[in-house]
Symmetry: C2
Subunit: 122 residues, 2 copies
Amino acid sequence: MRISDLAAEAGVTVKAVRYYESQGLLKPRREANGYRTYDAHDVVVVREVKALLSLGLTAEQTYPFIECLRAGNGRADVCPASLEAYRTRIAEVDRRIAELTDLRARLTDLLTDAENWRTRQL
Amino acid sequence: MRISDLAAEAGVTVKAVRYYESQGLLKPRREANGYRTYDAHDVVVVREVKALLSLGLTAEQTYPFIECLRAGNGRADVCPASLEAYRTRIAEVDRRIAELTDLRARLTDLLTDAENWRTRQL
DNA sequence: CTTGACCTTGACCCTGAGGGCAGGGTTTAG
DNA sequence: CTAAACCCTGCCCTCAGGGTCAAGGTCAAG
């Protein structure tokens, strides 16, 4: 199959597929005319990458999952490195939530303070 | 004062000051040799921009605050547009926290599932 | 065989808030 | 006078692609 077929089947754009390749996540063969050729296995890879990116992992962080697939596993997340990547990402999310929670408190403090200042001025 | 003095007093880098200028937040005069010249008022502006960026506002979103200062107010956040910008940002943060909370739940589900799968395989 | 619709390629610029570096002019201290 | 320290502009980089382009390939109908 060609690139637009792969993109359609995996639910991403052609541009995204080429980007994944530039990140080393895909290595399509080429037809004589230079067109990229993919197989069913690549569809699974692209779907996996898409899912992981939507979880906030970087393209680089999807590497262990793709290697896990390439190693012959039916699932990308059953390898130790994948589990570790999940845990790392959960920790990142926790940190980010804590940051944003603190940020929100600072913002509401600032807003309240500014509102009070205006009230006093009236 | 020159750019490095301004940067030092406001606690940012020279590069950041030039970036704020490129975003229209500063309009320094120029010496005959082309060097930028700033006054004490600019220090206040840069400190304000720095504080707002650290709250996650974009450079563009700091505009109302700087205009509020330029209008002669002692505080950048006592103008209606500034209050509105705070509220907008709080709403953004709330949305983001909700997204991340949902994301975390999905991640822990995936992790648990993958761990269980491994356990069964052993 | 040709036309036209559609596909593919690589290449370029864009995002936000600067960081880093290059190359060159200016100022200031010793 | 010279070297350090400062200033300038301009270019490339981030991340996950989006948008657009020109050039060329493919495939059908006519």
